[in-house]
Amino acid sequence: MFELSAADWQAIQLTIKLCFLTTLILLAIATPLAWWLASGKSAMRVVVQAIVALPLVLPPTVLGFYLLLVLGPRGPVGSTLESLGFNHLAFSFEGILLASVLYSMPFAVQPLLEAFNNLGRRPVEVASSLGAGVVDRFFTVILPLCRGGFIVAATLSFAHTVGEFGVILMLGGSIPGETKVLSVLIYDHTEAMNYAAAHRLSLLLLVFSFLVLFVVYGMNRRFQVAKV
């Protein structure tokens, strides 16, 4: 029963690639962003925090719609890219990658923000007084002490990108090997009344998602930041 077609495999591969890259980019962006958010309470930070959290409440179609306007051939970003000799970003892998980064941003920022708030400033102040520079402090103090936060942020970003559908459909359409990820393929299978194929992939995602959440909640329990 569990035989996957070539198209299924292609979609799985594409999905993994998309999620992996999204997670990498997100960790690189969300870490400094969450650190900055954790280091004060100015009005500017509240604005940024609200913007970051927008994808939590917006219908994915709204986000996808605006991204299509902005990144498409007539949008400000898309047309600029075209005039520079590149392609616009609508209906492309790069486009849905950018969309995924924005869409999963809150899932990377929130756990990190919480971890950094729990950590407080003291360990970092101690490390700097002992002669550790910024990068040194990150790898020898922040990373080991906020390990749980980083693992949760990475897993949630990855998993949430797997579950992305509306934004990709709006911005990327359904181009095999380029934008046709698992969730889109399941939709296509269903539209084509191919319920068996849709079921196989759906079940796969269901089990995967459960495992991810199981791991994340287990982590949360294990990595309560120890205060000494």
């Binding site: 003291r122 101690v126 002669g131 550790a132 002490l145 000494v228």
Partner: protein, 355 residues
């Protein structure tokens, strides 16, 4: 060598206005009530707080100026906080060596075994830090700061979070540090006892300003000194402790101002500090022979101060020039006809070994 600070800061109701300097040697106590701005001032000195327009200079280095800013990790300071400052993911040794490893080899003046011996850490080295008591944690934090071979040691109320018993345990280590480490220390405290034990110089802070900077002896010469808030007026005597005599008594001080004091047998001979509470000293016009108090000194009255609560404080000079404060009642003063310039016998009932 001196430490210079200039800063003006307003945060809501809190104001800090400081333009001062003091010699960067010995132990300087930054003394004041909670909320007077001591910790903020220390954080500015350390570089943990970047206040615009502030200036901080240490010796010939500019730590903060109009355009300069030396980050904390480049200032080579040792910091000890009130509590909770050990890195929980490292063992005791890991904590101790964190700064040591980041200190250039040429600048390392202290080694792990010296520091662990000085602070009694030998048996703790392999323990995880969450299995240490409060006092042990502070000793590790002290050792860790020392192992960076800092050029300035900043101690932010290092004993404030400890109970009395633990304080008593850790105090000798701090005293030894103050004497032996050869590093200028800034000690932030609101405890007069710590100032008397450890400080050579006192910076009095109040409401975000510095009231006065003076030597410990000058600070103790004022009858209304804030240092007398807890236990009443007292004097700190400095001198050499002699070798053990019979009856476990040891000689202290110069000929003519010599005292016999009880000191634990293991106390090494050498410079020590004694505290004498003014109310533990009595005055006699003749040297009483048959009396239980054995320490009798000839002192000269410099001044008589009336204190609130029907007391008189005598500021007297011992023969070696050190100040001894004596507290008596106005009635006794009158009965004995005490006056400035008069020589009397000071009968010292008890002394406390400070360091």
């Amino acid at each position: 060598m001196s430490l210079q600070i200039r800063v003006r800061l307003r945060r809501g109701d809190f104001k800090l206005e400081v333009d001062t300097q003091w010699p960067a040697q010995g132990v300087t106590a930054l003394f004041g009530r909670s909320g007077c701005g001591k910790t903020t001032l220390m954080r500015i000195i350390a570089g943990l707080e970047h206040v615009k327009g502030a200036q901080v200079r240490f010796a010939d280095q500019c730590w903060q100026g109009d355009t300069q800013w030396l980050p904390v990790e480049k200032r080579r300071i040792g910091l000890v906080f009130q509590e909770g400052s050990l890195l929980p993911h490292l063992s005791v040794t890991g904590n101790l060596l964190y700064g040591y490893k980041r200190t250039p080899v040429a600048l390392r003046r202290l080694q792990l075994d010296e520091v662990s011996a000085m602070l009694g850490l030998e048996t703790l080295l392999s323990r995880p830090v969450d299995q240490l008591s409060g006092g042990q944690k502070q000793r590790v934090a002290l050792g860790r700061a020392l192992l960076c071979s800092p050029q300035l040691l900043l101690l932010d109320e290092p004993l404030a979070a400890l109970d009395t018993q633990t304080k008593r345990e850790i105090m000798p280590f701090l005293s030894r540090l103050a004497q032996d480490a050869g590093i200028p220390i800034v000690l932030i405290t609101h405890a007069p006892d710590e100032v008397q034990r450890l400080a050579d110089r006192v910076v009095f802070m109040r409401d975000g300003r510095i009231d006065e900077i003076c030597s410990l002896q000058q600070a103790l010469a004022k009858p209304d000194s804030p240092l007398f808030a807890d236990e009443g007026p007292s004097s700190v005597l400095e001198g050499q402790l002699g070798p053990a005599e019979e009856n476990s008594l040891r000689l202290f001080g110069e000929q003519g101002s010599q005292l016999r004091v009880h000191a634990p047998d293991q106390t090494a001979s050498g410079p020590i500090r004694l505290r004498v509470l003014a109310r533990d000293v009595s005055v006699a016009l003749d040297d009483p022979a048959r009396i239980s108090i054995q320490n009798h000194l000839v002192v000269t009255i410099r001044q008589l101060h009336e204190l609130p609560g029907n007391r008189v404080l005598l500021n007297t000079a011992m023969q070696d020039g050190q100040t001894l404060l004596i507290e008596i009642t106005p009635w006794s003063a009158q009965q004995l006809g005490l006056a400035t310039g008069q020589s009397v016998f000071a009968l010292i009932k008890s002394v406390a070994l400070m360091r």
